[in-house]
């Protein structure tokens, strides 16, 4: 498929808004899904990390 020029490619034969609107929104939401997952993982590991540290502190105190 020979587009001729970058301009032609971005213009998509007049359908630019629809094609890029579709591909753009798809890319956006897929990236968003990944970002939200990373945030969720970070939140849970931080929270659990705190709890584990607290428990080991309690255990240390109990032993001394």
């Amino acid at each position: 498929m020979n587009w001729g020029s970058a301009g032609n490619f971005f213009a998509m034969g007049g359908y630019a808004f629809y094609v890029w609107g579709s591909y753009g929104v798809t890319a956006l939401f897929l990236v968003l899904e990944i970002v939200l997952l990373v945030l969720r993982k970070r939140t849970i590991t931080q929270r659990l990390g705190r709890r584990i540290r607290m428990r080991s502190e309690v255990k240390n105190e109990a032993q001394t």
Partner: protein
């Protein structure tokens, strides 16, 4: 020949590290396939005779629609397994699949709308496929809402699991009834895909993009189920060990 004990991985504790090891492979596959698919979609597939360049939206719309339906079926199977075998990991997988499935359904609807506007002149057409996708989105939302509304994790998993199975059984009925409704109400049945003639390169690109989405979905769902496992099993020893290793 040594037999693999697959049931070893049916406990959250052993599945967690396995999933963690698998995610990078699926990520790489997803990235590679997406790159190939996009290249083919924009630089190999020719201009369509009737729809010009606008038809290229199909390379996202159709794979997203396929994934939305495929994921729902997989979700229902895991939900069923969770109900029948009482395995928590199965229910967690069903729960992890839902948001990704709902996302693909939304993308199928969005891209379908953006495809329909230039081709049929309206932002929304009540063709059988789009209408069925809309109902599928409602089914996903129902599943997620029910699970969110129940505090007890066991009841939440089982109730939403039953709902998923009922939804899966209803999907053919819903699709059939919507098809029926659509063809009776419109003399010339409008179909989003009826405008394109499928060339070989187009079909190949579709398949590549579908696999790309599939690999992406697996990677994302594995990552999400790891979060679910952590949230459910947070206070156990093995979690402390894993987090200690920085996993």
């Amino acid at each position: 020949m040594r037999t693999i004990n697959w049931f070893k991985y049916s406990s959250p504790a052993s599945f967690y590290p396995l999933a963690g090891k698998l995610i990078p492979y699926f990520t790489v596959l997803a990235v590679v396939l997406t790159a190939v698919g996009l290249y083919m979609g924009f630089f190999v597939a020719p201009t369509d005779y009737k729809q010009g360049e606008g038809y290229r939206i199909m390379f996202i719309h159709v794979p997203a629609a396929w994934m939305s339906m495929f994921i729902y079926l997989v979700m229902a199977v895991y939900a069923g397994a969770g109900l029948v075998f009482n395995t928590r990991l199965s229910s967690m997988m069903a729960s992890a699949l839902a948001p990704t499935g709902a996302l693909f359904t939304f993308l199928a609807l969005w891209t379908g709308s953006f495809w329909g506007k230039p081709m049929w002149g309206a932002w929304w057409v009540w063709d059988a496929r789009l209408t069925s996708e809309l109902i599928l989105l409602f089914l996903y939302i129902g599943f997620m809402s029910l699970k969110a509304a129940i505090d007890d994790p066991r009841r939440a998993a089982r109730a939403s699991g039953l709902l998923a199975i009922i939804g899966a059984i209803n999907i053919p009925i819903i699709y059939f009834s919507v098809q029926w409704w659509n063809t009776l109400h419109q003399g010339a049945s409008i179909s989003i895909t009826s405008g394109t003639s499928m060339e070989a390169t187009m079909l190949t690109t579709l398949l590549v993009m579908s696999f790309a989405f599939w690999m992406y979905a697996i990677a994302v769902v594995l990552a999400r189920v790891r979060c679910e496992i952590l949230e459910a099993e947070g206070d156990t020893e093995w979690v402390a060990a894993q987090l200690g290793k920085g996993q």
